[in-house]
Amino acid sequence: MCPVGEREELDRLDLALHDRLLAGDPLAFEELYKRYAPGAYGLALRVTGHELLAQEVAHDAFLALWRAPEAFDPSRGPFRSFFLSLVHHRAVDTVRREQRLRTRTDRAANLEPFAGEDIAEDVVEEAWIAHRRTEVRKALTELPEEQRRVVEMAYFGGMTQAAIADELHIPLGTVKTRTLAAMQKLRRFLETNDR
C-alpha cells in the first residue's frame, strides 16, 4: 500500500520550498538540494555512467533550478517529477554529446540490475520516495525482457529509438511497438499502486 498522505506531505513541503526559492532564499535551495541531490546524482550517474559527467549534470540541473525556479509549474505535477525530468534530460543530452566517453555496446549489455539492489548506505530517503522506488523497480522487473530492454536503453542509456534499433538489430517499428507496450504496462502498474 502506498502511503499517499506521506507523498502529499512531501509534495507540500516541496511547494513551500519552491515558493521560498522564488523569493531567492538560498536556504530553501540547500534544503531542496538535501532532498534531491542523491536521487539526481544517482540518476545522472546511471545515465552517463561517469562520475564527473554525473556531477556536472547534477550541478547544472541545480544551478538551472536556482536561476530559473519559475520554470517549475505546480499545475503540471509535483516538483519531484519536474526536477528529476530536468536531470534526466540534461543527462541524456550530455550522453549524446559525450558518446566517445562510453561504449554503447557495453552500456546496453551491462545495464544496472533492478532486483536485489540496495541504495547506498549513506543515502537517507523520504519513506515515500523509498517506497515508490521499490514499486518502480518491481514494475520494471515485471516487464517482458524485450520491452524492459528498450525502455532501459532509452531512459537509462540515453539512446534514441533509432540507435536502439541499430544496436539490437531490429526494425525501428519493433522498437516503437515494444516501447509503447512497456510504457502502457508501467503506467497501469504504477498508477494502480499510486492510489
Binding site: L22, A23, G24, P26, F29, E30, A37, P38, G39, A40, Y41, G42, L43, L45, V47, E51, L52, Q55, A58, H59, F62, L63, W66, G77, S81, F82, L84, S85, V87, H88, V92, E112, E117, I119, A120, D122, V123, E125, I129, R132, R133, V136, R137, L140, V151, A154, Y155, G158, M159, T160, Q161, A162, T177, T179, L180, M183, Q184, L186, R187, E191
Partner: protein, 288 residues
C-alpha cells in the same frame, strides 16, 4: 522569411484548417491513428526521439493535444511514468564538492535579500551581484579544476584541505579576494572571516629551488606582517591559517629564500591585491 520559423505567424487558424502534411502522416482513412500518436508520445516522454519523429511528436504536442483530451491524458500519463522511472536508478550520495560549488554560485545572492523576488531586484543590485557572481564563478572554476586534479591523484588528504578552504570561503560572512600576478596568468584566491584566512590556487608553479612563497598582509602605511610560508603541492595551494585579516589593507605574496628573515617583503612580488575597495586604477578585486 521562412514561414516555419518559430516566431513567424502561421497562415490560417487551427491546425485542421491548414495544410499540415506532417500531421497527415498520422491519419488513416481521415482519422488520426492514435496507436501511432501513442508511440510518439511514449518515446517523446522517454526523450528517445530524434529527426523526423521528434519533429512529428512536437507537432502532435503543440497542434493535436490541445484539441484531444484522450491524447493529452495519455501524454500526461507517460510524463508521470518517466518521472517515476528516475526512481529506478540507485540514489548516490553526491560528491562532497558539489554543494560547495553550488554555494559559490548561489552565494552571490544574500540570504537576507530585502526584495521579495530576485526577478524584481533593482538593476543596480543586479549589477553588483553580477560582479560578485563573476568572481564567485571564478572561485568555483578554480576549485573545480583543483578538485579534478586531486581526484586524479587520489589524494584524500588534500581533498580535506580543499574542503576546509571551500567551507571558509563559502561562509556568508567571508570576504573573498582574487590575487592577480604580473608574472603568470594563474590566480590565487584569498578568503577571510573572523580570525581565519584561507589561500587557494591551482596550477600554481613551484617557486625556484630553495625558495618559498611568503604570504604577507600589509597596511597603507607600508607595514607588512608575515602570515605564512608555503609551496604548492603538485600545483595546488589549499591552506587555512588562524589570522585576523580585517585590519589590513592589502595582501601580498612574494618569493623568498626559505628560512630568510620575515621582517618585511624583500623578494619578488608574485601575487597581490587590495583588501579594501579598489580605488580607480587599483589592482585588487574584492568579490563579496
Amino acid at each position: 522569411m521562412n514561414e516555419h520559423e518559430p516566431d513567424s505567424p502561421r497562415p490560417g487558424g487551427a491546425w485542421w484548417e491548414r495544410d499540415e502534411p506532417a500531421l497527415d502522416a498520422l491519419r488513416s482513412n481521415g482519422q488520426f491513428d492514435h496507436q501511432r500518436i501513442d508511440e510518439l508520445l511514449a518515446a517523446h516522454a522517454l526523450h528517445a526521439l530524434d529527426g523526423d519523429d521528434l519533429r512529428l511528436a512536437e507537432l502532435v504536442l503543440t497542434e493535436h493535444l490541445p484539441t484531444c483530451d484522450r491524447c493529452r491524458e495519455t501524454a500526461d500519463g507517460f510524463r508521470a511514468i518517466t518521472a517515476d522511472l528516475a526512481l529506478g536508478s540507485r540514489p548516490h550520495a553526491p560528491p562532497e564538492m558539489l554543494l560547495p560549488r553550488l554555494r559559490m554560485q548561489t552565494l552571490a545572492v544574500p540570504v537576507d535579500a530585502p526584495t521579495p523576488s530576485h526577478r524584481t531586484r533593482s538593476r543596480r543590485a543586479v549589477g553588483s551581484w553580477l560582479s560578485a557572481a563573476a568572481a564567485l564563478v571564478l572561485i568555483g572554476l578554480v576549485l573545480w579544476n583543483a578538485f579534478l586534479h586531486v581526484r586524479l591523484g587520489q589524494l584524500s588528504g588534500r581533498q580535506q584541505d580543499i574542503a576546509r578552504v571551500t567551507n571558509l570561503i563559502s561562509q556568508p560572512d567571508a570576504k573573498r579576494v582574487r590575487l592577480d600576478s604580473i608574472h603568470t596568468r594563474t590566480h590565487v584566491l584569498f578568503g577571510y572571516r573572523e580570525a581565519e584566512v584561507a589561500l587557494f590556487g591551482s596550477d600554481v608553479e613551484p617557486p625556484a629551488k630553495g625558495d618559498v612563497y611568503r604570504l604577507w598582509l600589509g597596511r597603507d602605511n607600508g607595514h607588512f606582517d608575515h602570515v605564512a610560508d608555503f609551496v604548492p603541492n603538485e600545483g595546488v595551494v589549499a591552506l587555512v591559517f588562524g589570522f585576523d585579516a580585517h585590519e589590513y589593507d592589502r595582501i601580498l605574496i612574494t618569493q623568498e629564500p626559505a628560512g630568510s628573515p620575515t621582517i618585511r617583503p624583500t623578494g619578488d612580488q608574485k601575487w597581490s591585491a587590495l583588501l579594501r575597495p579598489t580605488p580607480p586604477g587599483g589592482t585588487g578585486r574584492q568579490s563579496d
